[in-house]
């Protein structure tokens, strides 16, 4: 039940049309119930009032007639009187289908006269139905008709009834009360029929209103629903679908302006993607075009180097500068090309099941000379045994080399700490330096291309300014995380977390990103 209610709630939340139809049906039900109630009430009371007036007029005539009959027989004896009673009173009965009338002539209690005649009562009438209050009223209003509504048991049912009572002076016999009991069953039937008609008519009307409002709302809701579907498709990247536009109304206006919006969006997106593609191609072309002249320069420098003994000391120093700048130029070109590959989404990882410790070892060996030249010692904390994960060893080693050279560059000669960790779903490496550190604003830009924390600071380790951007792209390629914490003058920790397998989702890194100096 609760489940059903929840479903119903969700259904109404979801469907605008259902809400509209439900609201229309509920409101029109209220209106119909009030109108129907009022109609039924006024028809009912009208029906009964008319019938009551008829009955009272009839009863009045009957009472006067009976009284006159009895008064005229003033000299009669008891027997005649009893006979008269037995003929006059049953004559008042009627059994027509539209209105049935039963009669009772009852002797008023508490009379001194001993004369006692048998009271005629219509067959089937239970004299006890006549309430005492009515009898008392009859006795206290001698010259008036007194009436009261009662319910009459007829078979298993009860019918509404009206009892009219009148005082009657019968010569010799004394005070009597004449009661005319009217069965109002037929009026009730009429009323029932009217109410039934109203009820079923009302039900039909509500269903009709529901159907009409369903139709009307669907005319309005379905273009809206279509618009919602199409905008979802647009948002998902399919720029083709459009709304159907027919007619000239507000819905058509919605459709055509929606389509115009989609068209201009599509044009804009295509223009932008073309521009960005042109730019990627340009960067890639530039990097390639620079390679041939760079090779020429490099070969020239190598040939010069081969004849270094013929050169003057000043020329040798210049040749050294040339050589070191050539290698920097070369790494810059390689990095630019790598970035342009990432931008063009043409990078595919070469994933293998590898031991992360081994890759960490390789990158440390590679970076050791740089660390030595800066005076930073490398402290390594690795778990016992292999740290197996599925990754592209060439890329991960490059990430680690980038993180390490970055740490050494900003580490101010302090020790660099490298830690490897693993849990069930992920493996991680942290690289911590205790050097200059960065402000939060600087941390936010650390992965930006060619960005430097301090532009005045000289690049001393030959970084290209693209290292961290590439490291981030490489980590993303592995569905991993590259995160950092940093505080000025304290240092920086970078943490790379990789899933154990490429199709695994992980939620927690095996190593904390907090910083503490051991």
């Amino acid at each position: 039940m609760r489940k059903f209610l929840r479903w119903l709630y969700a259904f109404f939340r979801r469907s605008l049309q259902a809400r509209w139809v439900a609201a229309t049906v509920i409101l029109s039900t209220f209106a119909l119930v009030s109108v129907g109630g009022f109609l039924s009430y006024s028809i009912g009371s009208g029906l009964f009032e008319t019938r009551q007036q008829q009955i009272l007029a009839e009863a009045h005539r009957a009472v006067v007639e009976v009284q006159n009959t009895f008064t005229a027989s003033a000299s009669a004896d008891t027997e005649t009187l009893q006979g008269l009673m037995n003929t006059v009173i049953p004559n008042l009965e009627s059994k027509s289908s539209s209105s049935s009338r039963s009669v009772a002539l009852l002797r008023s209690p508490g009379q001194s006269t001993g004369q006692y005649l048998q009271s005629p009562v219509s067959l089937g009438l239970d004299a006890s139905l006549i309430p005492d209050s009515l009898r008392n009223a009859v006795r206290s209003h001698i010259s008036k008709l007194v009436y009261k509504s009662v319910s009459l048991p007829i078979g298993a049912n009860t019918h509404p009834g009206l009892i009219v009572g009148a005082h009657m002076e019968i010569p010799v016999a004394g005070a009597y009360e004449l009661y005319l009991v009217y069965d109002l069953g037929s009026a009730q039937e009429t009323l029932d029929f009217v109410q039934r008609t109203l009820f079923f008519g009302g039900m039909a009307l509500i269903l009709l209103i529901g159907a009409v409002s369903f139709y009307v709302t669907s005319r309005i809701v379905s273009p809206m629903r279509k618009a919602a579907e199409i905008s979802a498709q647009l948002a998902a990247g399919d720029l083709e679908p459009r709304m159907e536009v027919s007619g000239d109304d507000v819905i058509a206006a919605l459709g055509s302006s929606f389509n115009t919006m989609a068209d201009s969006m599509k044009a804009k997106i295509e223009e932008l993607s073309k521009l960005s593609q042109m730019q990627q191609v340009f960067v890639s072309d530039v990097s390639h075009e620079l390679r041939t002249p760079l090779t020429t320069i490099k070969l020239s420098a190598e040939l010069l180097q081969a004849r270094v003994e013929e050169l003057s000391p000043a020329a040798v120093r210049n040749l050294e500068k040339l050589t070191s700048q050539i290698s920097r130029f070369e790494s810059l070109l390689a990095d630019l090309l790598e970035i342009s590959r990432f931008d063009a989404l043409s990078v595919v990882g070469d994933f293998e099941l590898e031991d992360l410790n081994g890759v960490v070892g390789l990158s440390l060996a590679h970076i050791q000379p740089l660390a030595d030249s800066k005076g930073s010692s490398l402290e390594v904390i690795i778990p016992n045994g292999p740290v197996q994960a599925e990754f592209d060893p060439r890329r991960i080693e490059r990430v680690l080399r980038n993180l390490l050279s970055n740490a050494i560059e900003h580490g101010e000669g302090n020790p660099i700490r490298i830690e490897v960790g693993q849990n069930a779903t992920a493996v991680a490496v942290t690289v911590t330096d205790f050097g200059v550190g960065m402000t939060p604003a600087q941390v936010a830009r650390v992965f930006d291309r060619f960005w430097r924390a301090d532009p005045a600071r000289k690049r001393t380790t030959g970084g290209t300014g693209l290292g961290l951007s590439i490291a981030q792209a490489d980590t993303n390629l592995h569905n991993g995380w590259l995160q950092l914490v940093s505080s000025p003058t304290k240092g920086t920790t970078f943490r790379m977390t990789l899933p154990r397998k490429q199709n695994i989702l992980f939620t927690q890194s095996p190593l904390p990103l907090g910083r503490s100096r051991s």
């Binding site: 390639h288 075009e289 390679r291 041939t292 760079l294 090779t295 020429t296 490099k298 070969l299 020239s300 190598e302 040939l303 081969a306 070369e330 070109l333 590959r341 043409s346 390789l362 590679h366 060439r394 080693e397």
Partner: protein
């Protein structure tokens, strides 16, 4: 003294490469465009060709194809483009190896040395793979008695695999055994394993009925290649 033909359209670069090669003890000659290159190739009969892929006139790939039609001379491509497609196209055109620009001269020399190495094995075995017979001494491959034209490198590749049918060779092993390379795991100029893939494909197109459903040179997924005779 080995003769090397250098086909490179950039005059400075051409001159420098020739100088580097001569310093390393080779007899080198440079040409600047594709059409002269083919003429020189015919008259000079070099032992090795260094070929720049981006050439004006006749493109480097065309030159490689034309040379391959008649000669098994080793061809090393020089390329500024190292994306998969460019490399694969060059190797498919018939190049045996490629050196990406910008290169160091020692790397270039090492690659040239490896290619000029005498590929002939001293043995006199004759291997068979189903209908294929490989005569090591005669340096000859026949299938159903018909002689097949293989380049020395393709021959060496087939010979290496066929010597121990069923044994799986990794791509790195083949680079060492067939191409004659020595490298460290993290060598910056580590030769590319695509070399092996493309050469296997080239070899298959010569010896298999259908190169896509091979029977003699089989791929062992995730490991490497082996020879089969079924």
């Amino acid at each position: 003294m080995h003769k090397i033909l250098v086909i490179e359209d950039e005059p400075d670069m051409n001159e420098l490469i020739v100088e580097v090669l001569e310093a390393a003890g080779y007899k080198a000659e440079g040409v600047l465009d594709g059409i002269t290159a083919l003429e020189r190739f015919a008259s000079m009969q070099p032992d090795l060709v260094l070929l720049d892929v981006q050439l004006p006139g006749l493109n480097g790939l065309e030159i490689a194809k034309k040379i391959r039609q008649t000669h098994g001379t080793p061809i090393i491509m020089l390329t500024a483009r190292t994306d998969s497609e460019d490399i694969v196209l060059g190797l498919e055109a018939g190049a045996d190896d490629y050196v990406p620009k910008p290169f160091d001269s020692p790397v270039l020399i090492a690659r040239i040395k490896a290619r000029l190495r005498d590929l002939k094995t001293s043995g006199s075995e004759v291997f068979t793979l189903g209908p294929i017979t490989i005569d090591v001494a005669g340096h000859e491959v026949r299938k159903d008695g018909v002689r097949l034209q293989l380049t020395p490198l393709e021959f060496k590749l087939l010979e290496t695999l066929a010597a121990t049918p069923g044994e799986v060779f990794s791509r790195e092993e083949l680079l060492i055994k067939v191409w004659g390379y020595k490298f460290e795991p993290n060598d910056k100029f580590k030769p590319d394993t695509r070399l092996v893939n493309v050469h296997v494909q080239r070899l298959r197109s010569k010896i298999e009925e259908d190169a896509d459903t091979p029977h003699f040179v089989l791929t062992e997924r995730g490991i490497g290649y082996k020879a089969g005779s079924n």
